[in-house]
Structure formats: structure tokens, C-alpha cells
């Protein structure tokens, strides 16, 4: 079974530039998450999708971050313009979203450095 795919693996940009990350969840997984993990901290939920609808984006800085999940499969997360404090690993995770013993399956993440 293929896992959660993310790209790129690394990205270095200057502040005020824009960047986009891509995620392809496990086939059949209805729920998709984007997490931000700053070095030394736990993952922080940015946005949660159920199929192609947003369930929760309360922690997403909407003035600069946007995310979409067209057709309820793969997803993109965009930052525009980037700030120094956006330097982090961006993790995509997916789950079936249908049973009570759900666990998340994580991708390898995209490590973003904003200079």
C-alpha cells in the first residue's frame, strides 16, 4: 500500500516569496490534514479536510496561507508571502475518517527554510 506522498522534500526561499506544497493521501482516505511542525515542537494543526470540504481551518493564518483539496484527493498548501517564522516542516496526514479507531498516516514532510 502506497503511503502519503509529499513534495518537495526541501524548499529554501527568501521572505516575501511564495511557496506551494503538494500532498497525495493514501487512496480512499477521506480526511486530509496539514500540520506545521516547528523545530523542537509538536505538530500544530493548520487545516482539516473531509473529502473536498474544509472541516476546520481555525489555526490557519488566512492572510498568508491557503489550502485546497480539489476533487477530494490530493491537496496543495500555499504560503504567500512567506515570513521568517514560517520556517518549519509541513506535514500532510490522512485517515479513513470513518471509524472510531482512526489513526493518522503521515507523509515525510516538506522542510521549509525562509531566509
Amino acid at each position: 500500500e502506497a503511503g502519503v506522498a509529499q513534495s518537495p522534500r526541501y524548499k529554501i526561499i527568501e521572505k516575501r516569496q511564495s511557496v506551494a506544497f503538494w500532498c497525495n493521501p493514501i487512496s480512499g482516505h477521506a480526511t486530509l490534514y496539514w500540520y506545521q511542525q516547528i523545530l523542537g515542537q509538536g505538530p500544530k494543526l493548520l487545516i482539516q479536510f473531509q473529502n473536498n470540504g474544509v472541516v476546520d481551518d481555525s489555526q490557519l493564518p488566512k492572510d498568508r496561507f491557503s489550502a485546497e483539496r480539489l476533487k477530494g484527493v490530493d491537496s496543495t498548501l500555499k504560503i504567500q508571502p512567506a515570513k521568517l517564522e514560517d520556517s518549519a516542516v509541513y506535514l500532510c496526514a490522512s485517515s479513513l475518517g470513518q471509524t472510531t479507531n482512526e489513526k493518522l498516516f503521515f507523509g515525510s514532510g516538506t522542510q521549509l527554510s525562509v531566509l
Partner: protein
Amino acid sequence: ELKVEQNPLFLSMQEGKNYTIYCNYSTTSDRLYWYRQDPGKSLESLFVLLSNGAVKQEGRLMASLDTKARLSTLHITAAVHDLSATYFCAVDMSGTYKYIFGTGTRLKVLA
């Protein structure tokens, strides 16, 4: 707002010793998860705890959940170097499938 706290944040222990990591959370939930993260790697699911009193064991790790105390523990028995990693607990907010992660416990097992 749900808060999830772990302690200790850092743990250095000798091989062969036992220790416990604690995870406290601030609001009602009956679903708690433990994940492991190796340096530079993504997160790997260890345990899913779904009810009060739930206990799961895998090798040298045992996890338990007390929903009344809003507390989960991850007990390490006879630690070995391969257990060195960062361990996170995550709590599902009221069955919403919205997972809030703890601060993490960075474990280092010394030979």
C-alpha cells in the same frame, strides 16, 4: 481550547532502566494516540487508546489511558538504544477527528 502537555520534555536514561512518560490534556476526550518520531523522519503511529482504562502493549512499550484524570502514560520497560526518539501523544477533540498533539518527549537511551 484543548491543551495537551507532556512531561518530561527531555529524558535521558540508561539501557535496562524503566521510565514513564506522562500526557495530560485539558478537556474531555476518550481517544488518545501515541506516535514516535525519529530525527528527520515523519511520525509513526504506536498506539490507539479508545476508552477509559484502555491498555496497549507492544514490545517494551505500554500505554494506558485514564479519561477521568485526563491522563495517559507511556511506560518503557528495560529501555534499549533503539527506543531513542521523540514521543508524542495526540488527543482527538470530542470525536471530531481533529487531533491535537502534545509538546513531545525527547528520549535518549544511553548504552
